[in-house]
């Protein structure tokens, strides 16, 4: 193993990998990613792969739009087909207050330059005749939203990082960070010591543990989310459909299988990522009601993963005030995959230029929690 690096990224999930990739792309040398297990062993390996731009805060919309630009170029830039498909996102509203929110959001999103529309119940029925629209008030529809395969994207980054001369070390755990006088001097792993002055904490829901190593508190916690996949069926579902009211999302992969999940009704504590039979029952009930055609489709596998939740369900991306060049990118709260390319770019810019250049992410700084926070509404 190498013993010196200009940057050590802790965590080889999609976020850490995207950061390392962008650092290398911007010309930085000796970039090193340390991953405790295999590539995509964390939340990224359990992720549904949805990529949307319809958010309730304008800065989130901007960041997501930048990500979509980068996903569109992913195959060319990173070098692998990641099953990216822009089939749109359809959000369904069932109550008046939800409808009001959607209308307000769409207005704001349009002002950011996003091609997004409100669909009436009738229009939804026309466009997606297989959806049972009983009770639907309206929908919000953005056709450039879509989805991709997060696991392949993660591995694609890893391969690219190695090709570009970076180190991507798997099956190695960061166990400590050496700090002297507020400066980082090195990273201890169970496989050896690496001298460095810059550490990026991209350890997902375990990022607080890395924070503790340098004495800072990161208000992120894990929350179990369950998910399932079916056998492959003929393509019928273009968009990813989100139903906040019935609490689910569903998409169809390029391979044909349906991937769907919900916010856990009985959340288990942070690191428990077991499966429950209730999940299958709850999902079957509502999915068959809203999508009657899938009644006899077979469920092939269920699994679960942790969302890295922050108090306002928005990412926390910042450099520590107390330890210089300790940067964290965490708290993605169930949408870290879709933001990763843009976040990778922004964080790389922070490290190389000292500030973001392409996209402003100042709303994601830690100090917002001191000021008082507005929670992102649009999460499942």
């Amino acid at each position: 193993m190498i013993d010196r690096a200009s940057v050590v990224v802790v965590g080889g999930g999609i976020v850490g990998s995207a950061i390392a990739f962008n650092l290398l792309k911007m010309g930085m040398k000796n970039v090193c990613v340390i991953e405790r297990s295999y590539v995509s062993s964390g939340s990224t390996g359990r992720c549904a792969g949805g990529i949307r731009q319809q958010w309730s805060s304008s800065m989130n919309v901007k960041l997501a739009m930048r990500s979509v630009k980068l996903f569109e170029q992913f195959e060319k830039e990173v070098g692998m087909n990641i099953e990216y498909y822009q089939g749109g996102y359809l959000l369904l509203a069932y109550t008046d207050s939800e409808s009001d929110d959607f209308v307000k959001n769409v207005k704001m999103q349009k002002s950011q330059g996003l091609d997004v529309d409100i669909l009436t119940k009738h229009e939804i029925k026309e466009k997606f005749p297989f959806i049972n629209v009983e009770g639907v008030k309206l929908g919000s529809w953005c056709k450039s939203d879509g989805h991709a395969n997060p696991q392949i994207a993660n591995i694609a980054y890893a391969i690219a990082i190695r090709k570009m001369g970076g180190e991507f070390i798997t099956h190695t755990t960061v166990t400590g960070i050496d700090v002297q006088n507020g400066q980082i001097v090195g990273v201890q792993t169970d496989n050896g010591y690496i001298h460095t002055n810059t550490v990026i904490d991209a350890a997902g829901f375990e990022s607080p543990k890395i924070g503790e190593m340098v004495g800072i508190t990161i208000p992120v916690y894990g929350e179990r989310h369950q998910i399932l996949v079916t056998e492959a069926v003929n393509h019928f579902l273009d968009p990813l459909v989100i139903n906040f009211n019935h609490n689910y999302y569903v998409r169809q992969t390029r391979h044909g299988s349906l991937i769907m999940g919900q916010g856990d009704v009985n959340p288990a504590p942070g690191e428990d990522i077991g499966n429950t039979i209730e999940f299958l029952e709850e999902m079957s009930e509502k999915m068959v009601r809203d999508f009657p055609i899938i009644k006899n489709v077979h469920i092939v596998r269920q699994w679960s993963g942790a969302y890295d939740m922050s108090p306002d369900a928005q990412p926390i991306i910042d450099e520590s005030k107390s330890v210089s060049r300790f940067i964290y990118a965490t708290g993605f709260s169930g949408h870290g995959f879709m933001l990763a390319p843009a976040v990778g770019e922004a964080v790389a810019e922070m490290i190389i230029y000292g500030r973001t250049v392409t996209t402003d992410i100042s709303n994601l700084k830690m100090d917002r929690f001191a000021i008082g926070i507005e929670r992102e509404h649009n999460v499942v």
């Binding site: 295999y38 590539v39 995509s40 390996g45 591995i155 391969i159 077979h298």
Partner: protein
């Protein structure tokens, strides 16, 4: 007009064994339409299962030769190329030889004309390229002519299975066997021989039509419901140039009818069959029947029935006391027919008024073979109750026991096994393998091999599993040639796969599928590993291996084997992923509670 004490029509195993007995006692003539005696046997290149005392584990054409040689030693008149065209009053048989009619008289007549292939109606079944199984065997095994390159076989009885195997031996591609029933008709060991070559057996499927203008260019197959009706929407096209129909045999009863024997419809015995008693006597006091004509069965039963009929004829004509011999043969027949596979025959015979004693097939239990692991020993994979005892008879060391009831599956005593492997070459089902598992990470297995060219020392081959899927690469360590052409190829392979590999083949140009559900090839996996992705979980995410409906039951171990081979890390040290529910794909509807309302 020449007169004989006994005339036998049909020179198959039934007719020949009868003529052989008759010749010792009375003036006998045997007639057969073919140029040589042997009946069905001459077309058969596979080893017959059955009773060792009745030629089992010899190949069909060899049995024919032995029976023929025996007959030629006896004072029997043999007239081949003689087609019987009718039975006439005053016990007259008319036959045509060399384009001329001949007439002969008998005191007693044995008809052993065997059976013909059943036809199957489907659209375009008259296209060139549609054959019966027998026709293909005749062309291929007797004349060395190959009717096509890509075959579809209809029917999974023993004949269809054996034909598929013989075609594969010639290098032809057998796309699949389709079977309308929900289970394979033939013996399990024969089905296994075919499956491990990678030939799928599609149950609950039938042919809808043949396609092509001048000759067969493809078929449409479809799934059938419980009443054998085609389920609309399940039709599939398959590209083949030859269709082989093997859906059973029908007894050739015309001559028996003309001889005024009563004929009855008993589907369990094959359709219309002559009514006869236990000793093969028909309703005409001068006429006997034997073999497939009396019930579609096996060579062994045909031989015994032929003998029985012959002894009864001798008894009737000469008053020789053959009581003991007859009851011995009857007992052998009863035991032979006591297995589950003879259920239909027993039922059919009962309909005819022949009592078949209930004989239970003893249930013997195989003790675990732990203590034999480190030495080379046999592994017997024959658990179905079929009438066969070739293995028991082949073992000089008393390590294999079938016992008095030939339907009992063999029991193996590893402590007596010397590793001589004679049983491997004797087993007609190719269901015996050799195995040696010691401390080393590699194991040795010996596989019966009936293909050409024979592998050579140190050659690299692919190990294939029971379904014909690729398992691992392996190395040939020894090839033992055997005069009966069942050679044994000993190979070395990672010990994790000793229970999986049941066939070896030369590597193909196209990469083999490691995962059939998701169609992932060996090549794809190797390329990913070469790109630096060496974790099972990463490879899984990249290729979808183990992510299909079967949950990776087969391909997981195989993938680990590939990773181990490429990285040098032993399989036991590799991480192997997590099993996630549901273990079997389950419909959403299964979880609906309020559905009934």
């Amino acid at each position: 007009m020449k007169e004989y004490d006994a005339i036998v029509i049909g020179g198959g195993p039934a007719g020949m064994s009868a003529a052989s007995v008759l010749g010792d006692h009375v003036k006998t003539l045997i007639l057969d339409e073919n140029d040589a005696l042997g009946g069905q046997l001459v077309k058969q290149t596979h080893k017959f299962f059955g009773d060792h005392a009745h030629y089992a584990s010899k190949r069909g054409f060899e049995i024919a030769k032995e029976l023929t040689d025996e007959i030629y030693k006896k004072p029997v008149d043999i007239s081949t190329a003689s087609t019987v065209i009718g039975i006439y009053p005053q016990n007259t048989v008319a036959y045509v030889k060399d384009g001329r009619e001949e007439l002969v008289r008998y005191k007693k007549l044995l008809i052993a004309t065997g059976a013909m292939e059943r036809q199957l109606p489907f659209i375009n079944s008259d296209l060139p390229g549609v054959y019966g199984a027998g026709a293909i065997q005749t062309l291929m095994n007797q004349y060395g002519i190959f009717p096509g390159k890509r075959f579809l076989i209809i029917g999974s009885g023993n004949i269809g299975l054996i034909l598929a195997y013989q075609l594969a031996q010639t290098g032809a591609e057998v796309r699949m066997i389709v079977e309308a029933l929900d289970k394979v008709g033939g013996y399990e060991v024969h089905a296994n021989k075919v499956k491990r070559l990678g030939i799928p057996i599609l149950l609950k499927h039938t042919i809808v039509k043949a396609m092509g203008d001048e000759s067969v260019q493809g078929v449409v197959i479809a799934e059938v419901d419980d009443k054998f009706g085609v389920i609309p929407g399940t039709e599939k096209e398959i590209v083949v140039d030859t269709i082989c129909v093997s859906v059973g045999l029908i007894p050739l009863t015309e001559l028996a009818e003309q001889a005024k024997c009563k004929i009855e419809y008993i589907p369990e015995l094959g359709g219309y069959v002559p009514v006869r008693d236990e000793r093969m006597h028909t309703t005409n006091s001068d006429v006997f029947v034997a073999g497939d004509l009396s019930s579609i069965e096996e060579a062994t039963t045909a031989i015994i029935e032929g003998k029985l009929a012959a002894m009864q004829i001798v008894k009737d004509l000469t008053k020789t006391d053959l009581g003991k011999e007859i009851s011995d043969e009857l007992k052998t027949l009863d035991i032979f027919r006591s297995g589950p596979k003879s259920f239909k025959i027993r039922k059919g015979l009962e309909k005819m008024g022949i009592k078949v004693p209930e004989i239970e097939v003893p249930k013997l239990f195989q003790t675990p073979i732990e203590n034999a692991k480190s030495k080379l020993h046999a592994v017997i994979e024959c658990t179905e109750e079929i009438p066969c005892n070739s293995c028991e008879s082949s073992c000089k060391f008393d390590a294999i026991k079938v016992g008095e009831n030939i339907n009992t599956p063999p029991i193996f005593d590893p402590s007596k096994c010397t590793g001589c492997a004679v049983c491997v070459t004797a087993c007609p089902g190719l269901a015996i393998f050799m195995e040696k598992l010691d401390e080393s990470p590699n194991a040795t297995i010996g596989i019966p091999y009936e293909f050409l060219p024979l592998p050579k020392f140190n050659e690299k081959m692919w190990g294939m599993d029971k379904e014909g899927n690729y398992v691992c690469d392996l190395t040939v360590k020894r090839v033992v040639k055997n005069p009966n052409k069942t050679n044994i190829v000993y190979v070395e392979l990672p010990k994790e796969f000793v229970d999986d590999v049941r066939h070896v083949r030369y590597p193909k140009k196209e990469s083999p599928f490691v995962c059939r559900c998701e169609e992932v090839t060996l090549d794809q996996i190797e390329k990913i590993i070469d790109s630096g992705i060496t974790d099972f979980e990463e490879i899984k995410r990249m290729t979808r291996i183990t992510m299909g409906p079967c949950g990776g039951k087969n391909c997981k171990m195989i993938t680990l084997g590939i990773i181990s081979r490429k990285t040098g890390i032993p399989i036991s040290k590799l991480s192997h992923g997590t099993s996630r529910p549901p273990v079997k794909p389950t419909e959403f509807s299964a979880f609906l509670r309020g559905d009934e309302k």
